[in-house]
């Protein structure tokens, strides 16, 4: 079963990928949060049809699922690109040139903070101080902090990251979780 409506023309969400998840947590009424986590692992965000499906399968109201999904910062309800670039626009970074970085990304990829390129490759997010002011302007690409970025340098890095099939936000995350264990 796939659904294509309500996803802004984006590729259809393959709901059947959720089946193993439901199987795993069958009969565990309190499993909403782990199920949401697994779903996000699968789709990289929580598409509305998936929230709806989870509500139906767990027999709880959609409003409850949505309440939980929005309560925790770890969940994303917007589609995110395979690569996520975070630019810090805290005071230090702002002064040291983040506006120029934002402009460069805008010129090159046509996206503003919170947006994703139409090909689903890159999402741009803005954060306010990540505690690395010494590296200002600080940027984070797929979970890796990069300091003292200049626009051309940043564009290069991003281009390289997108070109590499082995690197993505998920992969880096996985790697880091593995390391932290």
């Amino acid at each position: 079963m796939t659904a294509s409506d309500g996803n802004g023309g984006a590729p259809a969400v393959d709901l059947s990928l959720m089946e193993p998840v439901f199987e795993k947590y069958a009969g565990q009424p309190g499993a909403l949060i782990p199920i949401l986590q697994k779903a996000q692992d699968i789709y990289n965000y929580l598409p509305p049809e998936v929230l709806q499906l989870i509500a139906e399968r767990l027999g709880i109201a959609l409003s409850k699922v949505y309440g939980v999904a929005t309560f925790y910062a770890q969940f994303y309800l917007e589609r995110r690109g395979r690569h996520v670039l975070r630019l810090c626009d805290g005071t230090a970074c702002h002064v040291k040139g983040t506006p120029a970085l934002l402009a460069a990304i805008k010129d090159e990829y046509g996206i503003r903070p919170g947006e994703t390129t139409p090909d689903g490759e890159l999402t741009l997010e803005v954060v306010y101080c990540i505690g690395s002011c010494a590296l200002a302007p600080a940027t984070v690409l797929d979970g890796r902090v990069m300091g003292h970025m200049r626009p051309t340098q940043l564009l290069q890095r991003v281009k390289r990251q997108i070109g590499s099939p082995l690197c993505s936000e998920e992969k880096n995350l996985e790697e880091r979780t593995r390391r932290s264990r």
């Binding site: 709880i60 109201a61 959609l62 409003s63 929005t70």
Partner: protein, 950 residues
């Protein structure tokens, strides 16, 4: 175990588990609250109710903290006050300063608290939200999140009262937002527009959209009354300003429904003030004299139907005058025309020339008067009403099985005492919404088992423990199959059967033949489901059965009803709390219209016209000889009118042009009726064909009583004046009766106690009902005004009423098992008409639709007729969702849009009868149940095909 504690130095005892708030409240000590509501669970969200508990580190929220032995509580100390003030300051720092124009000014819990605690408006405040005002297209519910205090009462009302779970909070901290579903529009998040969330909102964040700017609490008068739609009998307050109903508000002490209402009750009131209302008596020119002069002088006017778009035209021209033209006359003229014509027909042709249709929308008093008019003045028993078309099989079937035909238990009893509720043939959520709500609550909070059987996957099926989809017209087979299993397993209540019933052996022999395999073949229900259903019924006793038109509207309606009775007697579920056979009645006063003699075979209170002793009683009371002939039923009346045997029809508050089966036939009959009088609110299909149309008053414009589906008698109270010359039905009938008497059409003996028609108000009519109707003997206005909750029978003024029937003894003595065999419906699909049509109704409309189609927003929600069809069948004939289709039977055809949905089984289509232009009853078959004479609305054969848009 009771607990003793001290609150503000006062010693208080409270039951264990009670909260400090409850204990204080009982001791008369006030603690302020905001997120708490006595109907809802407590979440302790707002912290307004904080109190000091000695020994506790922090202040405690009284609404969630349980009492403990020896607890010492202070509710009014300085620190408590300071904290409450702080909470209020925080709320105000993110609240618009808008009390001047706020809808709930004067009716706002936040305002009252701020006033009580003397909190000043914070001039320096942090960031305030700036939510969009009224962002949701739901036509009934207005949202202003800027005023939301995040108390969560709406969330809990929707979850705990309505069981819809539409609302929740999303995000957190300052970003916390009240959202519907996944931040969707309400209607996309399963909202059914009941308005419960509005009713429980303590501030102006949720409000009734139709009432915006129409008047605030101190500008309206509230009039408590009973809903005019379905038979649940909800009470509410009509809010009146300057002679207009501007809002309906919940009445917390409403006996049936509490704060709960459905979309029709809460938001369907605007038909009362609709411009289409009839405001003057209308008489066809051919029955009048001197029309030209009266038109010239402006005394009368030519009537132009408001629905035909003739508004505002100068209608006094006589150029377009034909004998058929409707003339707006004065009451004297119209009443004289009718009285003279009736008197003349009676003189020339006798009482058999008359037929009368009573109304399930009129009060008990009006129906009593109408029945008296038929029997005393016209001398005929040919009086009937549309209960024939919905529940005559219940009345007849239950009379055979139990001795009297009405809901055996009460709504509260069924929804709180039952272990298992079995719903068959009742679309409870949409047709009896507040009962649906209570069933859902029972299932969710009391663990009541819910078994639903219906050919359509109706909404309530989504809540069921087990849903059975049987083929239409196979109810007897299904019930026999369940009884087969119950007897096979020895689950039947042998003690009850031996002591209270007869006919068990015959039943046993019959259901013996209904093996699960055979039943599965007939009904299409898998054997395992049959076994599981029987087990559920057997293991969860007492269990109650609810049914409605899915059972009654068949050629085998009476047999279906008796099968329900069989099953419940077999399980020993009769005469006890939580049990019973409970037909849900469709209209506000359909029970009352039956009770008041709106039936051809009985006087008020089901006293047979054929019983000489009864007849003699009424002859003495009314002072005339009465007919011992049982009259004609509605469907027979239509036939007789078509043949010309009935020359005069007098119809009040009913439109056979939408409700009867086979409408083309009905139109023919009404057109050929020599003299047709219709008393109505609107120009209905029947009114269009009438000779005289008398404008009647709506429920909000008169006094009286309604009897709801559980036999409870409740007051209807006048809130506004009728428009123009419209008058209450009671007034019109009385006026006609007096004129008939003056013309000598009947001559009652002057000394008979109830010969006359000089009533002083409706309570005077009720006194006459008390005297002549044993089941209503103790139902007085005084008792009703004092708040007595009366379910008939009420044999005298001391009697408390009878919530549960057949407690130690059936009305007929022993309960009777009637062995019944499955018989196929009158018309089954074949090569030419391959689909089965089943008919019904939807949440947003009611009955013939004359009222709901004139409630602006109800119409907006469901603006046109839809035919439901399964995707499988749709594909076969090439029909897309929302495409125009033609539906045809051997009797007629309609054009309508298709709704392609899995809710309906393959092989079946579903249509409603709310919309005259596409009324399902052009297709239905006038095949009748042989006993009850109810038509088979639920099954006929049709074909469906796509049609092009132009």
């Amino acid at each position: 175990m009771a607990v003793t504690l001290k609150i503000n130095g006062q010693t208080v005892t409270a039951p264990e588990g009670a909260t400090i708030l409850e204990a204080a409240h009982k001791a008369g000590i006030h603690i302020p609250t905001l997120c708490h509501h006595p109907d809802l669970s407590n979440v302790g969200a707002c912290r307004i109710c904080v109190v000091e508990v000695e020994g506790a580190r922090n202040l405690q929220t009284a609404c969630t903290t349980p009492v403990a032995e020896g607890m010492v509580v202070h509710t009014d100390s300085e620190v408590v006050h300071a904290t409450r003030r702080f909470v209020l300051e925080m709320l105000l720092s993110d609240h618009p300063n808008d009390c001047m124009t706020c809808e709930v000014n004067g009716d706002c819990e936040l305002q009252d608290l701020v006033y009580d605690y003397g909190v000043k408006w914070p001039e320096h405040h942090g960031t305030r939200h700036n939510w969009e005002i009224d962002p949701d297209p739901n036509p009934f519910i207005f949202i202003d999140r800027n005023k939301c205090v995040l108390c969560g009462r709406c969330i809990r009302a929707c979850a705990e009262i309505q069981n819809r779970d539409v609302w929740n909070f999303a995000y957190r901290g300052f970003k916390t937002k009240l959202v519907a579903g996944a931040d969707q529009f309400m209607l996309d998040a399963r909202c059914e527009s009941c308005g419960q969330c509005v009713a429980y909102c303590p501030v102006g964040a949720l409000y009734d959209k139709m009432s915006l700017g129409k008047g605030r609490a101190n500008q309206v008068q509230k009039v408590r009354t009973t809903c005019s739609y379905c038979g649940v009998g909800c009470n509410f307050d009509l809010n009146v300003r300057d002679g207009h109903i501007v809002r309906v508000t919940s009445a917390p002490d409403a006996p049936v429904n509490g704060m709960a209402l459905c979309v029709k009750g809460r938001y369907g009131y605007d038909y009362v003030h609709h411009p289409d209302r009839l405001t003057a008596p209308l008489v066809r020119a051919r029955w009048l004299e001197g029309v030209e002069e009266k038109l010239q002088s402006g005394e009368w006017r030519v009537f132009i139907s408001p629905s035909s778009g003739g508004n505002g035209r100068d209608s006094s021209e006589s150029a377009m005058l034909t004998p058929d033209t409707f003339i707006q006359t004065d009451w004297d003229t119209a009443l004289d025309v009718v009285a003279r014509k009736f008197a003349e027909e009676k003189r020339l042709r006798g009482p058999t020339a008359f037929g009368m249709l009573a109304s399930a929308k009129c009060t008990n008093e009006e129906n009593y008067l109408f029945n008296k008019f038929a029997r005393q003045i016209m001398g005929t028993n040919t009086i009937d009403h549309c209960a024939r078309l919905c529940h005559s099989s219940s009345v007849a079937g239950l009379a055979i099985s139990f001795g009297s035909g009405a809901m055996t238990n009460t709504i509260a009893d069924v929804t709180t005492q039952s272990k298992c509720i079995f719903i068959i043939g009742s679309n409870t959520t949409e047709q009896h919404p507040v009962i649906g709500v209570k069933v859902r609550r029972a299932k969710r909070y009391l663990g009541t088992k819910l078994l639903v059987a219906d050919p359509r996957r109706i909404d309530i099926a989504d809540y069921a423990d087990l849903y059975i989809r049987h083929r239409p017209g196979t109810d007897v087979a299904l019930l026999n199959g369940l009884m087969h299993i119950i007897i096979r397993e020895g689950w039947h209540d042998q003690e009850f059967i031996a002591a209270r019933t007869e006919g068990f052996e015959e039943l046993k022999a019959t259901v013996e033949k209904y093996t699960p395999e055979r039943v599965s073949e007939i009904t299409g229900v898998p054997v395992e489901q049959l076994e599981a259903a029987a087990r559920m019924l057997a293991e969860n006793r007492p269990g109650a059965m609810l049914y409605a038109m899915g059972i009654t509207q068949h050629t085998v309606g009476v047999l279906n009803v008796m099968s329900c009775a069989n099953l419940q007697m077999l399980l020993g579920n009769i005469g006890k709390p939580g049990g019973g056979v409970n037909p849900l009645r469709g209209q506000s006063n359909v029970q009352g219209a039956c009770d008041m003699g709106g039936l051809p075979n009985v006087y008020p209170g089901y006293q047979p016209v054929t019983d000489p002793a009864v007849r003699q009683k009424f002859e003495q009371a009314w002072g005339v000889p009465l007919s011992d002939q049982i009259g004609l039923t509605v469907t027979e009346m239509v036939d007789a009118a078509g043949r010309g045997d009935i020359r005069c029809l007098y119809i009040i508050g009913e439109d056979p042009m939408t409700s009867e089966p086979d409408l083309n036939h009905v139109r023919h009959a009404l057109e050929h009726t020599h003299f047709l009088v219709v008393q109505e609110l609107f120009m209905t299909g029947a009114a269009e064909l009438a000779d005289v149309v008398l404008p009647a008053a709506s429920f909000a414009e008169k006094e009286g009583t309604f009897t709801n589906t559980e036999r409870r008698i409740q007051r209807v109270r006048q809130a506004v004046e009728p428009p123009g010359e419209a008058r209450p039905d009671a007034w019109i009938i009385t006026q006609l009766a007096k004129r008939m008497l003056a013309l000598g059409a009947a001559s009652p003996r002057a000394d008979a106690p109830y010969a006359g028609w000089d009533y002083v108000g409706v309570s005077d009519v009720m006194r006459e009902i008390n005297a002549l109707t044993p089941i209503y003997a103790g139902v007085t206005y005084q008792r009703l005004e004092e708040g007595a909750q009366l379910h008939w029978p009420v044999p005298d003024t001391q009697h408390p009423g009878t919530p549960i029937l057949h407690v130690n003894k059936f009305t007929r003595g022993l309960g009777k098992f009637v062995a019944v065999d499955h018989m196929p419906p009158a018309e089954l699909p074949d090569g030419e008409y391959p689909l089965i049509l089943t008919t019904g109704r939807v949440l947003y409309h009611w009955h013939g639709g004359a009222m709901t189609r004139r409630a602006r927003n109800l119409k907006a929600m469901y603006p046109e007729a839809l035919v439901e069809i399964n995707p499988h069948d749709a594909r076969k004939v090439g029909i897309q969702n929302r495409q125009l289709v033609k539906l045809a039977s051997r009797r007629g055809e309609i054009i309508s849009r298709a709704l392609v949905t899995e809710r309906i089984a393959p092989g079946l289509v579903f249509a409603t009868f709310h919309f005259p232009e596409a009324a399902a009853n052009f297709l239905t078959i006038a095949a009748l149940d042989p006993v009850a004479k109810i038509p088979e609305y639920k099954v006929c054969a049709v074909k469906v095909m796509p049609v092009s848009e132009n």
